[in-house]
């Protein structure tokens, strides 16, 4: 489903003579199968967010190739990446990234609008998603009128509404309290079981990491070890 081959990435800091090259990822290779939940753990600055940004197409690798659903996405144009993203990827962000001027319903409807879905279809699907995340009665609430947990559920509903085969999540529980965190983790596992959605989750929380079938540890830009969780064997 997802494959990274010999990925190297470096940032260039400063300009001209004063520029410094900072390597972020070095020779990263891994593969994720369909229906897997893979968690990536590592300290701050280890390169895990860069890894996710590469998989999201927000940045391009310095070297190496990325395959998603058997398609080499390394050299897609910005427009093609946008099309690929809307068709195949769902995103859950740490700080939810909801558009503040849009209601919960409108935020969830947004990917369907971008995809060009019909009015009837998108209304039905957005309402179904709201019901699925238990926020049917909060459809007309603006993000600032919702709690952190509710906002994250809206964010998940937005990620799921186009029924993507892959969801990329960056610290999805980072802004949630323990009760909401557990609720969200159960929900992710349910979605994985019921809809066979592949999850790639970046976290530094052991409890979150534990829900994955596998956990990859990244240290100083290199994949260090791979841990397969017993519970999922």
């Amino acid at each position: 489903m997802i494959q990274m081959k010999q990925i190297n990435h470096q940032f260039i800091i400063g300009k001209k003579k004063r520029k410094t090259i900072v390597p972020v990822l070095e020779n990263v290779n891994f593969q994720i199968k369909q229906g897997e939940i893979v968690t990536i753990v590592g300290k701050s600055g280890s390169g895990k967010s860069t890894l996710l940004n590469l998989l999201s197409g927000y940045i391009r690798p310095t070297n190496g190739e990325i395959f998603i659903k058997d398609q080499n996405v390394t050299k897609l144009s910005e427009g093609d990446w946008a099309d690929f993203r809307i068709q195949n990827l769902g995103f859950i962000f740490q700080s939810f990234q909801l558009i503040p001027s849009m209601t919960a319903y409108q935020n969830i409807e947004l990917p369907l609008i971008l995809k060009g879905a019909s009015n009837i279809a998108r209304k039905q699907q957005a309402l179904d998603m709201l019901e699925m995340v238990g926020l049917s009665d909060h459809a007309d609430y603006y993000p600032n009128e919702l709690s952190g947990g509710q906002q994250q559920r809206v964010s998940i509903a937005r990620a799921l509404v186009v029924k993507p085969p892959i969801i990329l999540a960056d610290e999805p529980t980072g802004s949630l309290d323990s009760e909401n965190e557990q609720e969200l983790l159960n929900f992710i596992q349910k979605l994985n079981r019921d809809l066979n959605i592949t999850f790639l989750i970046i976290t530094h929380d052991d409890q979150v990491a534990a829900i994955g079938h596998r956990t990859l540890l990244i240290k100083d830009g290199k994949l260090q070890e791979e841990k397969v969780h017993e519970v999922h064997r």
């Binding site: 940045i59 427009g79 946008a82 962000f93 740490q94 558009i99 001027s101 995809k115 960056d170």
Partner: protein, 449 residues
């Protein structure tokens, strides 16, 4: 993303900052109204002049002035041969021609004690009738001595008076059916002046001329009578040769009778106005100098076209100033919404979709501005056309020319101005829209991912 959804997005975004959008639309509307009003003065004056020029005139008339090369005999008159040529041209409906009695004849027409010194002419009635010549009274002549008189003939048929201060007394009775006397003259061999009086009968009075300042005092006699006069004087057009003048031999040869008719005024009429240009050019190529009202209109139109282009250009400057406002509004909109743009891009919005949303927004401002500006310009134009004549009368104590239109807004001006407004708006929004597409997702989301 569907177009209707983009429009919905734009409307939502514009509602967020109503006052700023309103001020930008207002600036565009003022620019558009200024452009229309400025150019409408050019359109108004052009319309007034053209209306004035064409009033009562036949637009399919080509007036023949003469030949470019009159030839060795210096004949600027048209002959029957020329008329034959004009009549043979395709699309020519009729050729009217007039022969005037020579000015040296100073023919006098009288009835009882009343006299007039009219212009004596011969016209070809079939062509005149074809071209719609109408009589205000009576009928067309049918015998040699029957004549038509101009509409103002009676008014100038006056009792001669030695005292110039004495009020003129015009003929008051019915003119149709009256007998007139045409008195012509020549010098005989001995140098004595010899007069001849020819009896005429008025059978018709011509229609009033379209231009009320033109007075028609002509008298139209028959071709036979004209020839009779020529035979009396033994010169073409009844020219009087004075004893005291020594004429050159060539000149004397030229005025000698040879049975040839020489026309003073020839007009060629086409079937319709569209054919005027073609026929006029064909005639010109054959060496005949000619003009037509259509030619004059074309010259005026060319002159006003240059003037209107100038006015539109000046007016466009106002719109360019308004475009700075649009640019500013759109740039601020992009800056304010960069976070939203980043989120949209992060979840899969195509860069072209983002660009189109902002271009639609700037176009929307342009369209609204053009709409409000056009309506305002129409109201202003109406007010100017009503108010300015009053103002002129008040300030100069003179009435403004009748039918003068100060401001006229044709559909073409509305289309041009609206197009310029919208184009300027789209152009102003282009760079901010481009900036929106290049918003960095990670920066916009504060590097959350």
């Amino acid at each position: 993303m569907k177009f209707i959804d983009k429009i919905r997005f734009v409307r939502q975004n514009m509602k967020k900052n109503r006052m700023r959008v309103f001020m930008t639309v207002l600036a565009t509307a003022i620019g558009c109204a200024f452009l229309i009003m400025l150019a409408s003065v050019g359109f108004g004056l052009q319309k007034s002049i053209i209306t004035d020029l064409t009033e009562g005139k036949v637009l399919n008339e080509i007036y023949i002035h003469g030949k470019e090369d009159p030839g060795p005999e210096n004949k600027s008159y048209m002959s029957d041969k020329d008329i034959e040529y004009f009549e043979s041209i395709d699309n020519v409906k009729a050729v009217t021609r007039l022969q005037y009695l020579h000015y040296s004849q100073e023919a006098v027409v009288s009835i009882e004690d009343y006299q007039i010194q009219p212009r004596v002419a011969v016209s070809y009635f079939p062509a005149e009738v074809e071209m719609g010549m109408e009589l205000s009274e009576g009928r067309l002549p049918s015998t040699d001595n029957e004549v038509l008189v101009g509409y103002n003939f009676k008014e100038y048929l006056e009792k001669p008076s030695e005292d110039a201060n004495e009020p003129k007394v015009s003929y008051e009775d019915e003119l149709i059916g009256q007998n007139l006397q045409l008195k012509i003259r020549k010098f005989d061999q001995t140098g004595n002046i010899e007069y001849k009086t020819i009896p005429l009968k008025v059978v018709g009075i011509k229609e009033k001329l379209a231009n009320e300042f033109d007075k028609d005092t002509n008298i139209t006699i028959s071709d036979a009578l004209f020839q009779q006069i020529e035979e009396f004087t033994q010169t073409k057009k009844g020219e009087v040769l004075f004893q005291e003048i020594e004429y050159e031999e060539d000149y004397l040869d030229g005025v000698q009778l040879n049975g040839e008719r020489l026309y003073d005024r020839v007009s060629v009429y086409t079937q319709n106005v569209e054919q005027v240009k073609g026929v006029s050019e064909e005639i010109r190529e054959k060496g005949y100098i000619n003009t037509s009202v259509t030619d004059q209109i074309q010259e005026i139109n060319t002159l006003f076209l240059v003037m209107k282009i100038g006015l539109i250009f000046v007016g466009t400057i106002a719109l360019i100033i308004a475009s700075i406002g649009i640019f500013n509004t759109m740039t601020m909109a992009v800056t304010e919404r960069s976070s939203d743009i980043g989120i949209m891009k992060a979840i899969g919005a195509h860069p072209s979709t983002i660009r189109q949303i902002f271009l639609i927004e700037s176009s929307y401002i342009g369209i609204l501005g053009a709409l409000i500006g056009t309506v305002s310009a129409f109201v202003l134009s109406k007010a100017v056309n009503i108010g300015l004549p009053f103002l002129i009368e008040t300030m100069s104590e003179e009435s403004s020319p009748e039918g003068l239109m100060f401001s006229y807004i044709p559909l073409s001006l509305v289309v041009i101005s609206a197009s310029i407004s919208i184009l300027v708006a789209v152009f102003s929004g282009w760079r901010p829209a481009k900036k929106a597409t290049s918003v960095d997702v990670l920066k916009a989301m504060r590097r959350d991912l």
